[in-house]
Every structure is written in structure tokens, then in C-alpha cells.
């Protein structure tokens, strides 16, 4: 068994996310997401003959040849099985806000913008929300701006949607029927009470909440080996910080 002291928080996240990607044919990752990127690479390392990974902004992990639209077309065709979205704010209905806090016409804070979220959230079956800052400021009751809605009316074409939300404290799954999150596991070192305190929205909490499993030795070896190496091409700063890998000049 692995020992908690030796394992970084990022490695637990990578491993937990990879579980949700296991065996999927095609996982796509946005450019600024090293942890999901690593999780996708771990999933690919486990099933090299089954799983493809596309990472935007990577030259080695991006096989698209039809310009910026191909990722979205590919999702529209049903050829992308998992994708990741963040959110400056995420609410209990899984609505995400990538635009601004406050009145959007006179915002208190302005973020970059919605990117492809309003589309990928509808077309990719397994969208995993990823937010490292788990506080009542980020996980809110109601977002100030809906970049992409978590749920839609039944007659709206929507093969995709939220599958889970992973934060620095815990993992929520999302129940699309009920339109609510459910606490799935709490990361080692965090507590159910802390989650309650730090979450601004209502969610289902089962009687027994398991701890997020630690990656086993084999998984850790892959993460620290081939995954870290591949990651360094795309996220050199992250690879240097987390895995102590330098980017070749």
C-alpha cells in the first residue's frame, strides 16, 4: 500500500479522475488543465490500444488537422467521450460561470470567458468539473452568469452533461435526473463537516461517505514516470513543480 505522506494531493486527484475515464475511447483536455491532462494520460497508459487523448495546445497530443473547429465538430459527432470544465463559480445545479462576478454589464471581477463550455457541456457524455478552490465563494448557490447550464429541459437535445465535480477537498457525482450533486468521496485529510462548511450549495450526502482512494504503487509509478514526462511538454511549470521535471531547452 502507498503511504499518504509520500503522495501528493495532485496525485490523488489524478488517480481519482483516471478512474472515471477508464476505458473511454477518446478523452479531450483543454489547454490549461494539468491535473485532468495527467489523468487522461494515465487512463491512456492503462489502455493504450483503446484510449486516445487530445490535449489542446499540445503538439504531441493533438492530432487534429482541421483547425480550431475540429474539436467541437468531433464532439458533435459523438467522438469525444470525456472533457473537463472549470468555473469561477459552480452552483448546485451544475451551472458554471466563466464570465464574471456581479452584474455582467458592470462586473466586480471579469474572467476570460466561456470558451467552448456552452457547447461541450451539451455534447460530451462525461463532463468532469474541476475546481481546485473549494470555498463558498466558488461553489455557490446560484452562479452570477450561466456560461453553460448544468441541466436542460427534456426536449433539448443533450447527449452530454455533468458527470462529476472534483475539488481540492472532495469528489461529487452529479445526478442528472434529480439535477443535484451527491458527495461521492472525501479526499484524505478532509472531512465531511468541512465540505458542508465550504460548499455554498445544497447536495445529497449519503450516511457513509468513503475516503477518496489513494493511488496504488503501480499507478504512482505510471504517474511519476511516463505521465510526468509527457506532461512536461505541455505544462512545463506544473511538471517542474509537482514532479521536479525540467523542460528540455
Amino acid at each position: 500500500m502507498s503511504n499518504l505522506k509520500d503522495i501528493r494531493a495532485e496525485e490523488i486527484l489524478i488517480s481519482a479522475i483516471a478512474e472515471m475515464l477508464d476505458g473511454l475511447p477518446h478523452i479531450a483536455v483543454g489547454a490549461s488543465s494539468p491535473v485532468p491532462g495527467a489523468a487522461a494520460m494515465l487512463a491512456r497508459a492503462r489502455h493504450p490500444e483503446k484510449t486516445r487523448v487530445s490535449v489542446l495546445g499540445s503538439e504531441k497530443n493533438n492530432f487534429f488537422t482541421d483547425g480550431g473547429k475540429e474539436l467541437f465538430d468531433c464532439a458533435g459527432q459523438g467522438r469525444i467521450d470525456a472533457f473537463f470544465l472549470g468555473g469561477a463559480q459552480i452552483d448546485g445545479q451544475a451551472n458554471i460561470n466563466l464570465v464574471s462576478v456581479g452584474d455582467p454589464d458592470r462586473p466586480k471581477v471579469r474572467f476570460p470567458g466561456s470558451f467552448g463550455s456552452a457547447y461541450m457541456y451539451f455534447t460530451v457524455p462525461r463532463v468532469i468539473l474541476f475546481r481546485l478552490e473549494h470555498t463558498p465563494r466558488t461553489l455557490v448557490e446560484k452562479v452570477d452568469f450561466i456560461s453553460a447550464p448544468g441541466t436542460s429541459e427534456p426536449h433539448v437535445y443533450r447527449p452530454g452533461g455533468p458527470y462529476a465535480l472534483i475539488t481540492d477537498r472532495c469528489l461529487f457525482s452529479f445526478d442528472r435526473e434529480k439535477g443535484v450533486f451527491r458527495l461521492a468521496s472525501v479526499h484524505p485529510g478532509h472531512t465531511v463537516e468541512e465540505i458542508r462548511e465550504q460548499t455554498g450549495f445544497e447536495y445529497d450526502e449519503p450516511a457513509e461517505v468513503p475516503e477518496t482512494p489513494l493511488p496504488d504503487a503501480e499507478t504512482l509509478a505510471v504517474i511519476r514516470g511516463s505521465v510526468a514526462e509527457q506532461l512536461a511538454e505541455i505544462y512545463p511549470a506544473f511538471a517542474a513543480e509537482v514532479f521536479g521535471l525540467g523542460k528540455a531547452a
Binding site: V99, P104, R110, A148, H155, V156, R158
Partner: protein, 271 residues
């Protein structure tokens, strides 16, 4: 047919006030040198369109007061964080912001490319993006009962403005897999292009090279600009000048710092 070849100032002179211009994201081929020449001209009231996102080009154009409208899926400086002049302009409501989403911008350009007035797109329904755009309409799929779908109005820029690693005397421009540049060129009324190098031969003569080449038909005018993307990099060419970009981000925190930065860069350019 030979292309119209100008210098950067000549290219910049083709962009009138209030022009609608399409710009690529920082990780594609950005004509930064041309953008500086456009800023130096003091153009006003531009409508800039990110295909699909904007970065340093937009921040500098906005900071210099050239921009009236920003239409994009995002404005970001990537690892350098939020775009300071964009953020300031949004907070002071000095620009009109049309928040979009990547595939809707591609779809709008594809509509213009096809010469149709709109393009359908899945998703987006129920977002605040959709509620705030009057050039997007939720309509019915005519082939199905009760199947609402977004209709995105065509986006026809006056100019596609971009850089490329290679062009030829006929105005053929090689962009490789950065095909959003070809989409921009097809959709726009005309393209203003800078290239690292303009060669005498015809890029279309090589069938392998031709596959990633925009024909001169779409290119209004062309300028050679070595290091034309600096301080950004170009894929397969040179890396971004991270120190220079960091210097920009630091100085552009304030209006004064931004003005100093731009003045310094113009001075450098003139020397």
C-alpha cells in the same frame, strides 16, 4: 497573379475606423507587428472577433483605445493570467462585449464562408450567452417536432488579420494545420497577412505544401515581417518571448504603464 505587397504601415493603412477584424488566438499565428502598426495609426472603433479566443493582440488594441466592440469566446493571456487592459475596459464599460462560445464563432464564420445567413449549432440553449446575444436565435429544427436549436448569424469580418510562416509572390499563404486561419480568410471580405518569409516560387506547385495553403484569391495584401508574431511565438517556428510578455503584463496593469510600454515599443520599432 501577383499579390499586392506592402510594408506593415501600408497594410495597416487598409484598416479603416470601425472595421470588423478577425484575429486568431495567441497559440496560432498572430500578426503582432501588424497590430502594432494598426495601433500606431490610431484607428478607432474596431470590432474585433476572436477566432475563437483573444489574447495579447486584443489587450493592446483595447488599451490603445482602438476598439469599440469585442466579440469572442474568451480573452486570456494564458499562463500570464488575465488581460489587464481588457479587464479595465470591461469594468469601466468602455467597450461593448459580445460574449460567445468557440464553436458558435466557428459556426458564424462557416456561415459566411458558405454564403448563408446563419448556421445551426447544438448546445448553448439556456446559457446567459444565448440570452444576451441578439444575433443568436433559438428556432425549430424543421425536420423534427419540438427540437429547438440555436441559429448563429453569419459573421463576415471586413478583414482577417494574421501572420504566417510562409507565403509566396502570388499571395498564397501557408498555415498548415492552423486551419482556423483559412476559415477566417474564406469568411472575411479580405485578408491582411504578414509572413515570416515571402518566396518567389508558387507554394501550390508542391501538392504536399498546397494542402495547408490559403490561395491568394482570398488575400487582399501581404507584407513580409520576420519575427512578425513577436513577442508571441509561432508553432513550429520560434517560442514566445516570455520575458517580454511578462514585462507587458506587469506594465499594462495601469493605463500609464501600458502607455509607457507601447511608447517604448514604438521607439524600439523606429530605431
Amino acid at each position: 497573379m501577383d499579390a499586392i505587397r506592402l510594408d506593415l504601415e501600408g497594410l495597416a493603412a487598409r484598416v479603416p475606423d470601425e472595421a470588423k477584424i478577425a484575429l486568431p488566438p495567441d497559440y496560432s499565428y498572430c500578426a503582432m507587428a501588424l497590430v502594432r502598426a494598426i495601433i500606431a495609426r490610431g484607428v478607432k472603433g474596431l470590432h474585433i472577433i476572436g477566432v475563437p479566443a483573444l489574447g495579447f493582440q486584443a489587450d493592446q488594441l483595447i488599451g490603445a483605445g482602438c476598439v469599440a466592440t469585442v466579440e469572442t469566446a474568451a480573452v486570456t493571456l494564458g499562463e500570464f493570467g488575465l488581460a489587464p487592459r481588457f479587464g479595465a475596459a470591461i469594468k469601466s464599460a468602455s467597450i461593448r462585449m459580445l460574449d460567445g462560445t468557440c464553436p458558435a464563432i466557428h459556426a458564424g464564420l462557416q456561415a459566411a464562408e458558405k454564403g448563408v445567413p446563419f448556421m445551426p449549432l447544438r448546445g448553448v440553449i439556456g446559457s446567459d450567452l444565448e440570452k444576451r446575444r441578439d444575433d443568436w436565435i433559438v428556432a425549430d429544427n424543421p425536420f423534427e417536432e419540438s427540437d429547438p436549436i440555436l441559429m448563429v448569424k453569419a459573421i463576415q469580418p471586413d478583414f482577417a488579420v494574421f501572420h504566417a510562416p510562409l507565403a509566396d509572390r502570388y499571395g498564397n499563404v501557408w498555415v498548415g494545420v492552423r486551419r482556423e486561419l483559412m476559415l477566417m480568410a474564406h469568411a472575411a471580405k479580405s485578408s491582411l497577412v504578414t509572413a515570416e518569409k515571402i518566396v518567389e516560387g508558387n507554394l501550390l506547385d508542391d501538392p504536399v505544401r498546397a494542402a495547408g495553403t490559403i490561395p491568394g484569391l482570398y488575400v487582399g495584401a501581404l507584407a513580409e515581417a520576420e519575427n512578425g508574431a513577436w513577442p508571441l511565438g509561432i508553432p513550429g517556428g520560434y517560442d514566445a518571448d516570455a520575458a517580454e510578455l511578462a514585462r507587458y503584463v506587469e506594465m499594462a496593469r495601469t493605463e500609464e504603464g501600458f502607455a509607457d510600454y507601447m511608447a517604448g515599443n514604438s521607439k524600439e520599432a523606429a530605431e
